[in-house]
């Protein structure tokens, strides 16, 4: 029994030391580099979620690695002889402890994830479908941007600005933005990486995602759902600019689109363009 606990003590000590080293490293050294950054409030939430999850996973990884490493060195057969190990079939307290600990960790993560998702992050930048459960305060005044996925490009409509359509995306800094993502043909996924937004563009669906921009900068836009031949090429670069910069960009777009505007369909959450199926 004394031998047994000395194994356990050694493993425990190695685990505690390595964890004590790893966790600060993760939080302060690796953490700032974890995606997607802090261009928006939601992106910051995702970054902190990634840091927390990495920090929670680290002790688990280290426990297994330390234990297995120790076991591989110490609990091995000496020489070529086949010897029997200790016939232990189980240990009820350990099993109970393990179940309680894993369940508690998992429950805590799920509760915390739900809180971040619903209460603080208002959907965490993910697509929430046409009826978001908990729109953030000030959602009425949010800048509405419709993202239209089509094979193979993104276009954007701004219902607050005469529903004009543009081929690239500028957003004002420090503003709540309400994305309405939809598709004209097949399923795409609107992924604005630095903004921390991902929402599937599904035909016939108005998929809403909220994001609160913070500081100016550029962000990349990709398609994250396979949509056919040029799926990999469906990327763009968008800008978060100052409020004044946004206003002047919008003015120039409105001027450029004045001729074409009359041909656009009335603004709607989703569109069903022709042909709707196989045509003869």
């Amino acid at each position: 029994m004394a031998r047994l606990s000395s194994h356990a003590r050694r493993i425990l000590a190695m685990w505690l030391v390595s964890t004590a080293v790893a966790i600060p490293l993760i939080i302060w050294v690796l953490g700032p580099h974890l995606p997607p950054g802090d261009m928006t409030a939601e992106a910051s939430d995702q970054t902190s979620a990634n840091i927390v999850l990495t920090a929670v996973c680290a002790p688990i990884v280290l426990l297994i690695l330390v234990y297995f490493g120790y076991a591989l060195v110490v609990f091995r057969a000496s020489g070529g002889q086949i010897e029997d190990g200790a016939p232990i079939r189980g240990h009820a307290p350990t099993q109970t402890l393990w179940l309680v600990l894993t369940s508690a960790t998992v429950l805590a993560l799920a509760v915390w994830g739900s809180l971040v998702l619903v209460v603080s992050a208002h959907g965490a930048g993910g697509g929430q479908g046409p009826n978001p459960i908990d729109p953030p305060a000030g959602a009425k005044e949010a800048l509405q941007v419709q993202v239209i996925g089509q094979q193979w490009n993104w276009t954007y409509r701004f219902p607050g600005y005469g529903a004009i359509e543009t081929a690239h995306l500028d957003l004002p800094a420090d503003r709540l933005v309400e994305f309405h993502v939809t598709s004209l043909d097949v399923t795409h996924s609107f992924w604005a990486y630095e903004l921390g937004v991902k929402a599937d563009a599904v035909p016939g669906v108005d998929n809403i995602a909220f994001v609160h921009t913070r500081k100016p900068g550029s962000f990349s836009i990709r398609c994250a759902e396979l949509c056919g031949l040029w799926h990999g090429h469906m990327y763009q670069t968008g800008q978060v600019v100052s409020t004044a910069g946004f206003a002047s960009w919008m003015a120039s777009e409105q001027k450029a689109e004045a001729l074409n505007k009359k041909y656009l369909p009335p603004y709607s959450g989703h569109y069903y363009p022709e042909p709707q199926r196989r045509a003869g």
């Binding site: 016939g204 069903y272 709707q276 199926r277």
Partner: protein, 203 residues
Amino acid sequence: MSAEPTTTWIPAENPELEARIVSLGSYLLSAATTFFFISFLFAFLYLRALNSNGLWGGPKPGHHVPTTTTSGIAILACVLVSVLLVRLALVELRGSTRALWWPACAGALLLGLAAVAIQCWQYTDLGFGTEEGGYASVYLGWTGFFTIFTFGAMLWLETILATARRAPAKAPEVEKSVASFSVFWATLGLVEIAAFILLYGVK
């Protein structure tokens, strides 16, 4: 290796075990079949709830129910009576007199085939096209695959009848094979009830 024979028999287990295997297999097949049709049930409820583009029921309102509701009732009746006949045959086989099981099963077979035939006939005179909305899609898929499953079940029933005809078997063995079949056929009967209620009853 060369000592192996060219013809082997699948090693026979005792008949009781063989019957248990078939019986369990029938339950598992029924479970799989249920999940298969649950997909169509889900498709029905989901597409109906979504009603994309307002086209669940097709372009013309009230247009989507098959024109021949009577044939739907006929299919339902055929399947249900057939299921009951198989149950009756089972009761017969378990009872002291076993005279009626053969005609009951034969009748069940004919009714099952009649259900298949009526469904095929109905397709020729639907009154709506497959392209007319979500309901039309689910209708075609559900009834189509139900018909194929029914036909397969009838092949199974035919096997039981043919085996008994050729070599009059002992009652316990026939009883067990009919019991196994009855499980699967009753499952399909439940599927048909759900199909009838949803496809013909719900607008």
